[in-house]
Symmetry: C2
């Protein structure tokens, strides 16, 4: 068998149909895809690879998928904390964005986010922000996989004047990247309170035609639900249902304050849910009933949200928070066990983004989006269950190697496609300007 | 001014009466104590130190205080996860402990815990476990500060046969360490359900006489509260109140399911509360009403609990979880801001352990228990508010230097008083034996 790379690892968590932990197995990469996953003893006799990598003490997992973020907001990390959503948005974040967000901000902020995400084992993310063309370009250059959000809001920004112009700019992005191997466009109408009905209907029609996902904030807070109910006489989910937007193409982010019949309707329509536990906690938004959603058969993925409301883009930590919080909120200590938390951050993320045939598990034929985590640190020892150590104790600095489509983008914790010194200098310059404002 | 060490740091969070962030300040250590904390420009002209350390990009904080743990249980990390408290205790943890816990287990487990805690900036911890004499000895050797718990339970173990013998062994520990600079003894009756009334009364009398703290699990779960109510006709807090145990010497750990009058009584008696958010979530124990306790004037410290129910001993992470969870549970995004979370892990911990005159803040005259955290990693950049980056984004591997009583115990992330290779080998051997059992 032809092979570009043969990796020997102590453990592999493939996140396939089973929740198996493979011991002393080897992963074979050829032409950017997973060519084989087999016991080490067999690999040693059967595989001739151009390169072999020994990873004792490491676990191999599928690349982590951050199913909701606003990557350029990493430049606003820690600017305004300990505030409720609407105060935070209206008095701090939107004014700062209105003043500062241009193409250069988006390029520098995306690079800072990529640096953090690659170092933390994230190989794909679902982004919603202005100037998504810039984010898409930066990701393509860095070898990062992205769902670039064709953002839509009603209000004018430096990026676009009105919903029509947002859509027009989104479609330019679509045309440019429709066949790109790493960049996939998706519609990203901000929310039912920031986008009116006509553009939402236009998004539905275009998403059907182009077969792309629709990424939206939904049921983030009680205030949002109440405001939409007051203004439109229906709850936000009912509104999207009436507009024909519920379904497997809808990526609904946050989803707190759900009623039983809403959960049933999400399951019935196969609507995708993205859970952002740390952001929901930090903004006191409410609790997403993750255990109930999973019991109802809804696909639940995980997102970090932006760094201004988290404040990191660390999906290992988010898995842990999701596993812990689901137990606390449901009152059941067996809710979201470690294996399920890992699945939320990988396979479920791929399904939410419409990419489950390409990524989300370590299975033969899928793209080689692979992460190696070193579990030999004292805080992940001794070893009884690798998945438990990964979810409940590992920290992102233990991510040592990352491959996307078979291309190594992180080696020994160091990025190969980004320049940290340049990125950090740019970030400090932005903070200096924004602080003085 | 005589000085052993002069540290120049970009920021200092002293956690004194104010919540100030000092910029470009310098800390002076002499004879194990903090001799001065002053602007760098003044330090450069006034201080002649035997040694000077430049820490650009670092923040100095008081040593973190882990106010509740069972350090030797680090050897059981990940043995049994995703289970409710009583199943976890009765079917997994207590059988494993009954089979394996001896002096060697405690020595090896404590060392693994110390390695993790020192690397994470913890300089003092409040421990409850069998063979506390071994834990005390290991801490004294490693230069770690500890409140060694004189454990009491009704049931026999390999450590003692009955409550009288537990108390006798505790008092031996007290006699040995009463004047030790790092090791302080404290009573540690396990809980109101595992210790009967006569030994609890004896603990109260002895604690009064010897002026030591009393460390107990209290109101961990609804089941505990209901069981004690059924058996004794009163809730656990009422029971301790009747026995005269509420007060500033009582260190009450967990404290979920609190009623308003219980919170008022805790405030009235100045009882110490230790919040263990990650353990409470993981075991689905319930929520400690931290924001309400703080509003009522109760001192709330932070603990990791043991590594078998967390699964790490990372107080930086616990600060973050505490800050996030308090917002989620109270529904107020301004509950437990970053500065308060840091205070819970430092000054409040010192108060809970009766050590607030000695440690808990960076103030002149206090012991030099100091931690330097490097905030120049991409995920803690750019810099608007150092305390926000520390609490909401920093990770324990960014802890670079740790001093306890002026003695450096961690340098550039490497322990100076512990041998990681020896400790990890011993941990792996224990896991091998326990797994095969």
């Amino acid at each position: 068998m032809h092979a570009d790379l043969l990796i020997h690892a102590d453990w592999v968590l493939p996140v396939d149909a089973s929740d198996a932990t493979l011991v002393k197995h080897s992963l074979v990469i050829a032409d950017g895809r997973i060519a084989a996953l087999l016991p080490r003893a067999e690999a040693e006799t059967q595989i001739e690879a151009a390169k072999t990598l020994e990873l004792p003490g490491h676990v191999l997992i599928p690349g982590l998928i951050n199913a909701h973020t606003h990557s350029p907001m990493s430049l606003l990390r820690g600017l305004a904390d300990d505030l409720p959503l609407m105060t935070w948005l209206h008095e701090h974040i939107w004014p700062a964005e209105g003043r500062w967000v241009d193409q250069e901000f988006v390029a520098d902020g995306t690079r800072l986010a990529l640096l953090e995400m690659l170092r933390g084992g994230i190989t794909c993310f679902n982004d919603m922000y202005f100037h998504a063309d810039v984010t898409a370009r930066v990701c393509a250059e860095a070898g990062m996989r992205v769902l670039a959000g064709m953002i839509v809001v009603d209000f004018p920004t430096r990026y676009a004047d009105n919903a029509d112009e947002y859509l027009r700019r989104g479609l330019e992005l679509y045309d440019h990247y429709r066949d790109h191997p790493l960049v996939r466009p998706a519609f990203a109408p901000h929310s039912t309170y920031a986008v009116s009905e006509a553009p939402l209907e236009r998004v539905r029609t275009l998403a059907d035609e182009l077969q792309v996902q629709v990424h939206i904030h939904l049921h983030e807070t009680r205030d949002e639900v109440m405001q939409v109910l007051r203004t439109h006489g229906e709850r936000p989910i009912a509104r999207l249902d009436r507009l024909g937007l519920l379904g497997p193409q809808l990526v609904a982010v946050h989803m707190t304050r759900l009623e039983d019949e809403e959960i049933a309707r999400l399951a019935e329509t196969d609507t995708q849910v993205v859970h952002c536990p740390e952001s929901n906690l930090k903004l006191a938004s409410g609790f997403c009933p993750v255990a109930d959603l999973i019991d109802a058969g809804v696909n639940v993925a995980l997102g970090t949200d932006g760094a201004a409301s988290n404040n990191d883009l660390n999906l290992l930590g988010e898995m842990r928070t999701a596993a812990l919080l689901a137990k606390g909120v449901s009152g059941r200590a067996n809710a979201v066990p470690a294996e399920q938390a890992l699945r939320m951050a990988t396979w479920n993320g791929a399904k939410a983004l419409g990419l489950e045939r390409e990524i989300g598990s370590l299975e033969v034929g899928k793209a080689a989006d692979v992460v190696a985590v070193d579990l030999s640190d004292p805080h992940t020892q001794p070893m009884y269950h690798p998945c438990s150590q990964l979810v409940y104790a590992a920290s992102s600095h233990q991510v040592r190697h990352v491959w996307i489509r078979g291309r190594q983008v992180l080696r020994d914790g160091e990025p190969l496609t980004l320049d940290p010194a340049v990125i950090l200098t740019a970030a400090r310059e932005w903070a200096g300007r924004i602080s003085e404002d």
